[in-house]
């Protein structure tokens, strides 16, 4: 394969990279109060990226750069979801960081971070995976740390420390696997690991998976998530709970498929999934801060995602289910964070008391999003969850299917606590009404909630892909 076709196959990623560099340069020569034009350029970049991604999705599946990067339907769909999420995030950022001294840098970091996530998701080679991991992680630290909030430095430091550790672990794992298999390409990894001593192979795989779990914000590399969500901008919180998870879950799926199909690896992922959903839900139960509540909720959601991934090697239908779940999760989760941004002063659950009376539209959006995360029909996550339970059951992991259902019940408790508080009546009716609702995020929340329902209704085509 020639260099040109490789570059063409990776055109969307290249567009994002060039757009990010362009925004950086443009931002440096733009006065602080006119940085809106940087946002416009960033949005334009994402639109071009989406156009290129659609073109890529319509072309035949291929690989780029000597088989180190897969450009298949999975990558194509990942690009579309990431692109859509970027548009929402740019709009959110425009509302939140406008006028901030580092405004243009935020846009640049969003684009770069997303680009890194795409590399993680498309990589079919351990070395490329490591590069993608770094490219996806470093903008994340910046996004969290740039905020002027007093809690931001701590959040950034925590993310950085866990991230750096995970990066090293990932590289160590990649190194071990390279040593055993003599190659970093997934295509030959399976044979290499099969012939190697079991313990060494297991160590390599476990280390790589652990590194990826940091990106996914999944148990056991999840401790940074609630702090980062609480400590910084809503924009960065929405980014870090949505975009990196998409790439990381796809990466775990690709790795799992590359390994020799023993019984242990799916079981390892299944165990991690079970642990993640249960721990996330249990921790979310006791949260009084809605940001931390959402943070823990995203940890449990990754658990469900990993449950589908565990079924991928043995059940053919699991792969499209993963993609549907990713798309449904992304749009639903973004709706939740847009709601947060629409009412920036309400950070504790009890501060949402009686909001339904004053902001019915916003609470409807929140209701759709929260019930959507539970998996209430007809939202996208419902279809995905039905598929999840079905494929895990079919993969011989009936216990995991039951656990998914049980955890869904458990999660109902805290989602509903928030929602019921919004619906409750207040004693002091109008005097508290000084808080302002921000129009743009409210509109975004409603759009995303509508998207979550629409995606559920047209889930058929997505499940037919993959």
């Amino acid at each position: 394969m020639s260099m040109t076709t490789s570059v063409l196959a990776l055109l969307p990623e290249l567009v994002l990279l060039l757009g990010a560099v362009g925004c950086l340069l443009l931002g440096s020569w733009t006065p602080r109060l006119r940085q809106r034009r940087v946002r416009a350029v960033a949005a334009l970049t994402v639109l071009v990226f989406l156009a290129a991604a659609v073109h890529g999705l319509l072309s035949d599946p291929t690989t780029a750069f000597s088989g180190t990067f897969a450009v298949d339907e999975t990558t194509g769909l990942l690009r579309l979801v990431v692109g859509g999420a970027l548009l929402v995030l740019l709009a959110l950022a425009g509302d939140e960081v406008a006028g901030h001294p580092r405004e243009s840098e935020v846009y640049v970091l969003l684009l770069l971070g997303a680009d890194g996530v795409l590399v993680v998701g498309g990589a079919t080679d351990l070395a490329v995976l490591v590069v993608g991991f770094l490219l996806a992680s470093i903008p994340l630290y910046g996004l969290i740390g740039l905020s002027a909030a007093a809690t931001a430095p701590e959040a950034a430091l925590k993310t950085y420390l866990v991230g750096a550790l995970s990066g090293i672990v990932l590289m160590l794992g990649a190194g071990v696997l390279f040593g055993l298999a003599g190659t970093t390409a997934y295509a030959d990894l399976g044979a290499g690991v099969r012939d190697a001593p079991a313990a060494a192979g297991a160590a390599g795989v476990v280390l790589v998976v652990f590194g990826l779990l940091f990106k996914a914000g999944a148990v056991p590399a999840h401790f940074w998530v609630p702090d980062a969500v609480q400590g910084s901008w809503v924009t960065s919180a929405a980014f870090l709970t949505t975009v990196p998870k998409l790439g990381a879950v796809v990466a775990v799926m690709r790795l799992l498929e590359a390994l020799p199909r023993q019984d242990v690896w799916p079981l390892l992922v299944a165990a991690l999934a079970a642990l993640g959903m249960t721990a996330g839900n249990l921790a979310a139960l006791t949260q009084g801060d809605v940001r931390r509540l959402l943070g823990w909720s995203t940890i449990s959601q990754v658990g469900y995602l990993l449950a589908v991934v565990a079924a991928v090697p043995s059940v053919e239908r699991a792969r499209p289910a993963v993609l549907l779940f990713l798309a449904g999760y992304a749009v639903t989760n973004l709706a939740c964070f847009a709601v947060l941004r629409a009412e920036p002063e309400r950070v504790r659950v009890d501060q949402w008391r009686g909001v339904a009376r004053r902001r019915p539209g916003l609470v409807v959006a929140l209701g759709v999003a929260l019930l959507g995360l539970v998996g209430t029909p007809p939202t996208a996550v419902f279809v995905a969850k039905v598929a999840t339970i079905a494929v895990t059951w079919e993969a011989g992991l009936a216990w995991l299917a039951v656990l998914v259902a049980a955890n869904t019940v458990l999660s109902l408790a805290y989602y509903l606590r928030w929602l019921a508080t919004c619906l409750a009546t207040t004693d002091q009716d109008e005097d508290e009404d000084s808080t302002t609702t921000r129009r743009l995020p409210a509109a975004l929340a409603m759009t995303c909630a509508a998207g979550a329902v629409a995606l559920g209704l047209v889930a058929g085509p997505v499940l037919a892909l993959g």
Binding site: T376, V383, V386, I389, A390, W393, A405, A420, A459
Partner: protein, 497 residues
């Protein structure tokens, strides 16, 4: 046509969400759309020809999620058509009754129209995912109805209702997925699953899958011991919310027994049948006994629902107790017909009772039986309606409840003689309802009854329509039985596979 019937209320609900619509229009739009639904359902009935066992009339199928073997598939047989008719009538009655409601009438109309779509959707569904979708949305809708328009400790009751029934619905979903995974080729299609039941001969797996389905349906029905959400939900719900919850939504559970559990898991059903008969008998007796101890009219009516749904569970359980010979098959079919008749009858009578309870609340904000006395003198029309509804509910011949319970017992006792114990429930029920009638209506005018205004036209007219239908079924049950009998016989036959 069927899809129009199902989705029209939802479209109307969406239109009513526009804030510019005046309350007056919204109230009349609610009445108009629900009446149109009655007409549409009647047209369907006129054009209905029994499709025969295992088939559906007015069938419609559109691809939805082919990857999961789920499609938008709807259709009706005699049983579901009867329930659809009953549902449209109950909603229309509620719409007329709600003409006088002052509290956010536009949103209430929108909510109840959406609820009508979910209830009709469940009865029309021929795909498990479509069934579950509407089933779950009905829970969400009812939660908002109790929370937004209820009284008393409504937030708590609404949340309890939601958590309880949502938990049940997840068990149901798990059971559905069990059916899906066992089917070959994989499908959620109810017609296909009933034609070729997947878990035959699977022993414990089938029993467990049916256990999950039964748990979900038993919570919704509700049967003892899963009935505890029902009394608080009813007590704090608005009048029309209670009427819809008891009249229509309880049937979603019992309908599931006949439409899903019996045909799709016949072997497991037979294994569970003794348990179901026992649960049915206990529900009948327990519901009646606890109703006897109530001092609150709405709680009392709620427990009579537990009793009445007990007859249904008893009957469908008896249908799974296979004996020998064609006489037995006939008895089992009769029991299922009785169960189906009871669903329709209970829908009409209980809705009427709850609307009557609503009359008490709008005037005096109290359901306390002891606080009233001598209402018959103050409010004769109210008294007449209440007496008629109570007599129907206790199963007096000439009213629909009698037709239902007679068939239930004729069928069930023939198959399971000891289930005759449940006849005691009828006796207890008589005591319950006569005691309530006596406390409220007879004696000198006293307490809250003083100055009690009689029912107005928009209150008595819908209740009267419901009761007239109950009397019509009681006197001339043939048209209804013509609808129900083929479907019930088919269900009873499917269980014996």
């Amino acid at each position: 046509m069927l899809s129009v019937l199902v989705l029209l209320p939802l479209l109307a609900a969406a239109a009513l969400l526009v804030p510019a619509v005046p309350d007056r229009w919204a109230r009349w739009a609610f009445v108009g759309v629900t009446t149109l639904e009655v007409v549409l359902a009647a047209v369907l009935w006129a054009r209905f020809e029994d499709p025969g066992p295992g088939a559906l009339a007015f069938e419609q199928q559109v691809q939805w999620i082919p990857g999961l073997g789920a499609s938008y598939h709807v259709g009706l047989d005699g049983l579901s058509l009867a329930l659809v008719l009953m549902t449209t009538v109950v909603f229309a009655a509620c719409a007329v009754y709600a003409l006088g409601d002052e509290q956010r009438p536009r949103l209430q109309a929108a909510l109840f129209l959406a609820l009508e779509t979910t209830c009709l959707g469940v009865f029309a569904a021929a795909d498990l995912i479509v069934f579950f979708l509407f089933f779950d949305l009905s829970i969400v809708g009812m939660y908002f109805s109790i929370h937004g328009w209820g009284h008393g400790d409504r937030a708590r009751s609404a949340l309890q209702f939601f958590l309880y029934t949502f938990l049940g619905s997840l068990a149901l979903l798990l059971g559905f997925i069990g059916l899906y995974v066992a089917s070959e080729p994989r499908t959620f299609d109810m017609v296909a699953l009933a034609a070729d039941p997947p878990l035959q001969g699977s022993g414990a797996t089938g029993v467990l899958v049916l256990g999950a389905v039964l748990l979900g349906l038993a919570v919704k029905t509700p049967t003892v011991p899963f009935h505890t959400w029902l009394p608080p939900a009813h007590t704090d719900a608005p009048a029309i919310g209670s009427a819809v919850l008891a009249g229509v939504m309880l049937k979603l559970g019992t309908y599931g027994f006949v439409r899903i559990a019996m045909p799709m898991l016949p072997e497991a059903w037979r294994a569970w049948a003794p348990v179901l008969v026992a649960v049915g008998v206990v529900s009948v007796l327990w519901g009646a006994l606890v109703a006897l101890a109530q001092s609150d009219l709405k709680r009392m009516v709620a427990y009579t629902s537990v009793n009445h749904m007990g007859y249904v569970v008893l009957a469908v359980g008896a249908a799974g107790m296979l004996g020998e010979g064609p006489a037995d098959d006939g008895a089992r079919a009769t029991a299922v017909t009785g169960a189906a008749t009871q669903m329709v009858s209970h829908g009409l009578l209980t809705s009427a009772l709850f609307l009557l309870a609503g009359v008490l609340w709008t005037r005096r904000e109290s359901y306390d039986l002891a606080a009233y006395g001598g209402l018959a003198a103050r409010a004769p029309r109210f008294a007449a309606l209440l007496v008629l509804a109570a007599l129907g509910s206790l199963g007096l011949p000439g009213l629909s409840g009698f037709v239902a319970e007679l068939q239930v017992f004729a069928g069930a006792v023939a198959v399971v003689p000891w289930s005759a114990v449940a006849l005691l429930g009828i006796l207890l029920m008589t005591a319950v309802l006569l005691r309530a009638v006596q406390q409220l209506l007879t004696g000198p005018v006293s307490g809250l009854a003083e100055g009690f205004a009689d029912v107005r036209a928009r209150e008595w007219a819908p209740i009267a329509v419901l009761l007239v239908l109950a009397v019509a079924i009681g006197l001339a049950p043939r048209p209804l039985l013509d609808l129900l009998e083929p479907a019930a016989a088919a269900a009873a036959a499917l269980v014996s596979r």
